[in-house]
């Protein structure tokens, strides 16, 4: 099945405002077949590449979007897998998007058509879970689909990691996550994308925050030949809070693009957004941070800080901060910079005898340190630091 047959709506192109810097080449002829259910052999192969388990996390493994009972921990009550065609009719949230609202929902729509399973997480009132979801892409297409809802007062710590089973196989991942955070509920969400350098990766994350809901999101993207993240968040409830931090690290010829639209639709909504990107070699980073404060959201605050570092002669960063405000009662700040390593800082370290490669690595590490520091679980933070240390030899500070 080709793209033309999958949907009446068209594939995004670089002419679309929010897709200018995404790498989309080749998608028009890509065959978006549903993923193949993993065999025992595939599962065994994945087992051998899984990262070491962190004891305090309940592990869930999805192979090409399919839940692997064999590699996952026993599911606690409240977590379930729904095979797509058994979803009750009143839960049409995914299939309703078959005709997408806009081109930004295109990949989510495609996911809703092809994902054979939806991994559903429901946290009852006042419950607490700590969950690790590993999404492993092995070959061809992969459609992980997560549907997460936290009811009133629930707390979820979620680590979501995207990897490949091999270092070379070219895969296409199309992840769709729907997250609803209920009144007074809290999610602490860490997302790590480190697929191999042949992979293509797309994700769509839709978040709704209810009254006094709190969402802390840390995203670290360093993998895939081409990646694109679309985040569409709505502060639907009053006094909801979002802390959103992302680090994007691109090297070689990688293209890493993100569009984040945050809508403040209710009074007292608060957003703090921080993006840090480092592009080296010929890599390209795109970031479009679009914050809207509607007339229904007086008393909101919206802070946006976007910084990119270019360390390659041919590296490129395209950042776009956007604040769109329709109320007078708002506190908003925004800033965006793109620059090179600071020569004064570099010389200071060299003058102390620190080798140039290490000094540069230390400065790069320092550039994203504020994002990494927001990862709340120490073991997860250390693990991510270790996995990034290859990219910053001598830079990760213990």
């Amino acid at each position: 099945m080709t793209i033309a047959q999958t949907n009446a709506h068209r594939l995004p192109t670089n002419r679309d405002e929010h897709w200018k810097y995404a790498k989309l080449r080749g998608l028009d002829t890509h065959n978006f077949l549903a993923a193949i259910e993993p065999t025992t052999t595939t599962t065994s192969a994945v087992a051998s590449v899984l990262p070491a388990k962190i004891p305090e996390l309940t592990r869930v493994v999805l192979i090409d979007g399919y839940f692997s009972q064999h590699l996952s921990d026993p599911l606690p009550q409240g977590l379930s897998i729904k095979v797509k065609n058994t979803l009750p009719d009143n839960k049409k949230t995914r299939s309703a998007r078959v005709v997408p609202q806009s081109v930004d929902y295109y990949f989510a729509s495609l996911n809703s058509q092809h994902a054979a399973q939806v991994f559903e997480v429901r946290l009852s009132t006042q419950t607490r879970y700590t969950l690790e979801i590993l999404c492993i892409a092995t070959s061809g297409n992969s459609y992980p689909a997560l549907d997460i809802e936290l009811y009133e007062g629930a707390t979820l710590t979620l680590i979501e990691e995207h990897l490949n089973a091999t270092l070379e196989t070219s895969t296409l991942t199309n992840l769709s996550v729907m997250l609803t955070v209920g009144a007074d509920a809290k999610i602490d969400y860490t997302r790590v994308q480190k697929q191999n350098f042949s992979a293509q990766y797309f994700d769509t994350l839709e978040i709704t925050l209810a009254d006094r809901a709190h969402c802390q999101l840390v995203s670290v993207a360093s993998g895939a030949a081409a990646s694109r993240s679309t985040v569409l968040l709505n502060h639907q409830g009053t006094n909801s809070a979002l802390q959103w931090q992302a680090a994007s690290l691109a090297q070689g010829a990688q293209v890493n693009d993100a569009y984040v639209r945050i809508t403040h639709s209710a009074p007292g909504a608060r957003t703090k957004q921080m993006f840090r990107g480092i592009a080296s070699g010929r890599a390209k980073i795109g970031f479009n941070g679009h914050m809207q404060v509607t007339a229904d959201a007086p008393g909101s605050s919206a802070d946006q800080s976007i910084k990119c570092l270019l360390t390659g002669v041919e590296a490129e960063a395209n950042v776009r901060p956007q604040l769109e405000i329709y109320t007078d009662d708002v506190r908003a700040t925004h800033g965006a910079t793109v620059g090179k390593l600071d020569n004064n800082m570099l010389f200071y370290m060299l003058s102390r005898g620190i080798p140039e490669v290490t000094a540069q690595a230390l400065l790069k590490w320092a550039f994203i340190a504020d994002v990494i520091a927001k990862i709340s679980l120490p073991l997860v933070r250390e693990k991510i630091q270790q996995s990034l240390s290859a990219q910053f030899p001598g830079g990760a500070q213990e």
């Binding site: 010389f347 200071y348 003058s351 102390r352 005898g353 620190i354 080798p355 230390l362 001598g394």
Partner: protein
Amino acid sequence: MLKINNLHATVAGKKVLDGLTLDLPAGQVHAIMGPNGSGKSTLAYVLAGRPGYEVTAGSVSFKDQDLLTLAPEARAQAGVFLGFQYPVEIPGVNNVYLLKAAFNAARKHRGESEVDAFEFLELVRIKMRLMQMDEAFLSRGVNEGFSGGEKKRNEILQMLVLEPALAVLDETDSGLDIDALKIVAQGVNTLRSPERSMILVTHYQRLLDYIKPDQVHVLARGKIIRSGGSELALELEARGYDWLTQV
């Protein structure tokens, strides 16, 4: 220790050093004074190898090797230390981490094994007590949010830890109150030894009340125009530079 011969240097195409010659034997402390724009900081940067400071003629020999052929980090590893006039803030790079990395880089250069974090912390604590610095400084970003005086103390702390053969201190006394000046001077004096040499770049004689130089040089228009003992600094304090420069 250090022999500078007929050194010429330019910054952004402008001639700043114009035939500077200086001989600094091992174990000696020389003060370099001079009016603004005379080339004092340029000399310090040229010795440390700062990019943009181009040597157009002359030579600098440090412990019988050609210093000018070495990269900045190689100069530091060989034992050259520059105390900055304006120490740079590096948010996100931990103070103790920078110190340990610098300390181990020098050890590695000497063919010695690197020290671990625990061992290093023991060492640095001793030096911090000498500089009357709180241990909390170690976990902060390099010079991040430090006051002017704290930055200068941090420079001397780094020098105490690295124990360089040649220290070039560029206006280490500027911005210090009298108590901080005494502490900084104490740190410097602690390191004085027959194997170590120092250049103190300063505007004011008061630093030399606490650190007694073996020689004082006056730098003007990119070259040394007068040298003498510590009494020269007193004379400069009393008479200014005009009587030397208006020739």
